[in-house]
């Protein structure tokens, strides 16, 4: 008896969703095992996580608030990943976006600019700063072939140090009792709360962005270029699609989205700039993008699940379980989705000797049909 894998030709949408959901549940069970083995009560831990995100209106608001930066970064990440640009600098681009937005806020906030002007200006600054931070690794990749995984990662550390420098130094709030925070944002620089936990008006950003991306990918020339390039760079070159230009664009868009997420976070939730505005949002967003199979709408759904996990980290820490449980579970779930989920989506397990029924060749020229595997 042998176990072998067979490539699936195609997969229905429901089956795909089923496989992803199954691997998330399996990952959660495995995470529970780790919790149990470490001497904590897994039932209590998951109870806290679920209760902390779905138990009340407030909890729901908290969960959604946590999912906003995740969804926003992940949507940009998906654009980059679609063309095989591995931007994992979302964390740094997030910080830089927050920095850019705060820079505008420091000018326009105290000066009393109306929020209809100030908020869009902060969004634009956040996008610009995030995109600029991604531009360097993007250019290195596009023009010198430098591996962007390493460079974007290193840029994360530099960005966080830069923001820390600012909040410990020039941008420190003089009335802040020496805490490393920028001055608190005035009302004209904050996104309006929606009365459900910390949920704020910034939630429209990922929703609008997802719709825009969906249209962009399916209905525009650029979306077509991204699709061809992501599937096969040689074919893209053959069709006269500029790889450099698209690598740069993908980098700029993904960096810019992470920058907007940083802006939304400081303006909507934290209301100050500090070195602790992110709890690994940049990294978590990568998981969100991948689990959402780089599809805008799926990313919105997955980001809520991960919003619950981020939020759950805070919740369990109040019950005496280390907050790191949140990150642990994210890693486990991604591993399961990767291992089992991707596998079962692409292949089907065949047990036993070869299937009994003999199938005739599908097509007369069968060999070339087979050689189509990427």
């Amino acid at each position: 008896m042998i176990v072998s894998l067979e490539r699936r030709a195609n997969l229905t949408l429901t089956r795909r969703i089923g496989i992803q959901a199954g691997s998330v549940i399996a990952g959660a069970l495995f995470g529970g095992l780790i919790v149990w083995l470490s001497g904590y009560d897994p039932v209590k831990a998951y109870g806290e996580i679920i209760g902390g995100s779905f138990g009340s209106g407030y909890a729901l608001g908290q969960m959604l608030a946590a999912s906003i930066p995740l969804a926003t970064i992940a949507l940009g990440t998906a654009v980059a990943f679609r063309v095989r640009v591995w931007n994992i600098g979302g964390e740094g681009q997030f910080y830089m976006g927050a920095f850019g937005a705060t820079g505008i806020e420091l000018v326009g906030g105290p000066a009393g600019w109306p929020s209809q002007v100030l908020i869009p200006a902060m969004v634009a600054a956040g996008f610009a700063a995030g995109a600029a931070w991604a531009a360097l690794p993007g250019a290195l990749r596009a023009y010198l072939g430098v591996n962007e995984i390493i460079t974007t990662l290193m840029m994360n550390y530099i960005a966080i140090l830069w923001v820390n420098y600012l909040v410990y130094g020039p941008w420190k709030d003089p009335q802040g009792h020496n805490f490393p925070f920028s001055p608190r944002f005035p009302d004209n620089a904050t996104l309006r709360p929606l009365g459900l936990g910390q949920l704020h008006a910034g939630i429209v950003i990922p929703i609008v962005a997802a719709i825009v991306f969906l249209l962009l990918l399916s209905r525009t020339q650029w979306g077509y270029e991204l699709r061809i390039l992501g599937e096969n760079p040689s074919a893209a070159a053959y069709a006269g699609i500029s790889i450099r230009r698209n690598v740069m664009l993908a980098m700029l868009v993904s960096g810019g989205m992470a920058g907007i997420a940083g802006m939304v976070q400081v303006s909507g939730i934290v209301h100050v700039l500090s070195g602790q505005i992110s709890t690994n949002y940049g990294y978590t967003a990568i998981i969100v993008a991948w689990l959402g199979q780089l599809h805008p709408m799926a990313i919105l759904v997955v980001s809520m699940l991960f919003g619950a996990l981020v939020n759950g980290g805070f919740a369990v820490s109040q019950a005496g379980i280390p907050q790191a449980l949140g990150v642990l579970l994210q890693g486990v779930i991604l591993l399961f989705a990767l291992g089992a989920g991707d596998l079962f989506s692409r292949y089907r397990l065949v047990l036993g000797q070869a299937p009994g029924k003999k199938r005739a060749p599908l097509l007369p020229d069968d060999r070339s049909a087979l050689s189509a595997q990427p």
Partner: protein, 526 residues
């Protein structure tokens, strides 16, 4: 173990060991995913014979032999070597039983030297790499079989012919008693092919078995003692005595019908110069000179074939002419317009169509619906585009048009490209390129891997294009195809055009010599 074949006795494989039977494969089934590659195939070969395995592209020959080489495992069926049942879990087991295979795509590590490749995975060698001793072994073997190679050169620096010699030496060095050669002549010059045939006879005369996979009737007839024929994964002729088979019999077995008639050469029609190359130079991916001052003119309605051993600049020539590689110096003119250095899109817009070497990996997008492949050359132009958007309705219409035009049966715009056969894909690709109304076509190996019928269709189409006044540059490894279709044949050797001779003056022998750089042309027609 060498034995003369028993006259008139065809050993049935199922009966097992007969004197002289080297190996037997019984009832082999193999499928890949949904596709059945071999259906209850029997095969047997004797010691000391050259046994041809004949069949069209896609008939399942390589799969069957890869099973014998331990690379694939059969779904059903049995293997006997020397009368003993064997189970081959991996190529290692096959090597142990004295089975060696030279694959169509050579299994060599490019950055490693000949010696290192020889030592790779060699059982029983010491832990330390003893390159000197291995080099001596290689020299001895090359002497014995007249297969000259430099043991200390890295493989990537070797010509295709030399790489093949390394592969054969490697198998012999491992003590192969059964040697499988998969389409070994496809990439050789006629002279190299002749030398290979002599080597094959020599190897067989030592009592070893040589299995020779091919789809070319002539060479099979010239070298093999017996022949087994596959069609669409099934056995249609088993261990037939070559002496009793005519070419026509073999063709019928292989294709199922008579071969389609040869493409008839049309009267030469040569208009104004259409595509002109002047002192064109280009570098390859490693930054080495790949094209050296190439001068060539292709006239409207003319077909110029480019012959040459793979790796002598064909790839770069095609890429420069289609805008996918910038020339280092020199000029390219389309009609009278200087298009030197234009990009792929500009070239396409200027009217140069491109049938690339790798149709699924480059010319089409295998994993996406045909719709996406259809738009590759037109998505940025109305009516497919409208502003920055795509007009999906006209895109679908356009794709349907292509499918209908070249009669790609059963396909819709939503069909995933890789599910189509090679012939269907090539027809679809041709339809797309044709829709641009090209003024010149650069076709690279347009019939490679296609079955006889599809080859015929593609060749006819190319002829009709040139009949309509298109200038056609045809790069091919198949000398017969070149001689059959081209008005002139240019030979590329180390990046230079050795000669461009008219069809009437081109013969295999001369062109073969030019391909290896050892022919002094008395006239160079450009």
């Amino acid at each position: 173990m060498a034995a003369a074949s028993d006259e008139g006795m065809s050993p049935h494989p199922a009966t097992g060991h007969l004197p002289g039977t080297a190996l037997a494969m019984v009832g082999i089934d193999k499928h890949f995913g949904e596709v059945l590659a071999n259906a209850s195939v029997d095969f047997s070969a004797r010691w000391g014979e050259v046994h041809a395995l004949l069949g069209e592209n896609g008939a399942g020959k390589s799969t069957l032999m890869s099973i014998l080489a331990g690379l694939y495992r059969p779904d059903n069926g049995q293997l006997l070597v020397d009368g003993q049942p064997v189970v081959l879990h991996s190529p290692k087991d096959a090597i142990k039983h004295g089975i060696g295979m030279v694959y169509q795509h050579y299994r060599l590590v490019p950055s490693q030297t000949v010696t290192e490749n020889m030592l790779l995975g060699l059982p029983g060698a010491p832990l330390r790499l003893d390159t000197r001793r291995a080099a001596r072994d290689i020299e001895e073997l090359s002497e014995r079989y007249q297969l000259r190679v430099d043991p200390y050169r890295p493989v990537w620096q070797l010509s295709v012919g030399e790489q093949q010699r390394v592969e054969i030496l490697k198998a012999l060095h491992r003590g192969a008693r059964i040697l499988i050669l998969d389409e070994p002549t496809a990439v050789l010059t006629p002279q190299e092919a002749d030398a290979l045939m002599r080597t094959i006879r020599h190897i067989a005369s030592e009592g070893r078995t040589v299995i020779f996979i091919s789809h070319k009737l002539e060479e099979v007839r010239s070298v093999a003692d017996r022949v087994t024929v596959l069609r669409a994964g099934r056995l249609v002729g088993s261990g037939l005595d070559m002496a009793e088979m005519s070419a026509r019999d073999l063709a019928r077995l292989m294709v199922g019908t008579d071969l389609p008639g040869r493409i008839r050469p049309r009267p030469r029609a040569s208009g104004a110069p259409r595509l002109t190359l002047r002192r064109l130079c280009a570098l390859d991916d490693r930054g080495l000179q790949a094209l050296r001052s190439v001068d060539l003119t292709i006239h409207a309605g003319e077909i110029v074939g480019v012959a040459g051993v793979a790796g002598n600049g064909q790839r770069e020539l095609a890429q420069v002419l289609t805008g996918m590689r910038k020339p280092a110096s020199g000029q390219v003119f389309l009609d009278d317009i200087d298009v030197t250095g234009a990009g792929a899109r500009q070239m396409a817009l200027a009217g140069v169509a491109h049938i690339p070497e790798d149709r699924l990996g480059e010319g089409l997008v295998g994993n996406l619906p045909l719709l996406d492949s259809a738009l590759m050359k037109s998505y940025y132009q109305p009516p497919i585009s409208s502003g920055p958007f795509l007009n999906l309705k006209s895109a679908v219409q356009f794709t349907r048009g292509l499918i209908a035009r070249f009669n790609v049966a059963g396909a819709t715009p939503r069909t995933i490209a890789r599910l189509l056969s090679g012939g269907q894909l090539q027809r679809f690709l041709l339809a797309r390129e044709m829709s641009m109304q090209p003024r010149a076509i650069v076709a690279v190996h347009p019939t490679r891997g296609l079955d006889v019928a599809a080859t015929h269709t593609v060749q006819e189409w190319l002829m009709s294009c040139s009949g309509e006044g298109c200038a056609l540059l045809l790069i091919s490894e198949d000398l017969d195809e070149l001689l059959q279709l081209s008005d002139r044949v240019a030979v590329l050797y180390e990046g230079s055009i050795v000669a461009a001779v008219d069809r009437e003056e081109a013969d295999r022998e001369r062109i073969g010599l030019m391909m290896i750089g050892s022919y002094q042309p008395d006239q160079v027609a450009v």
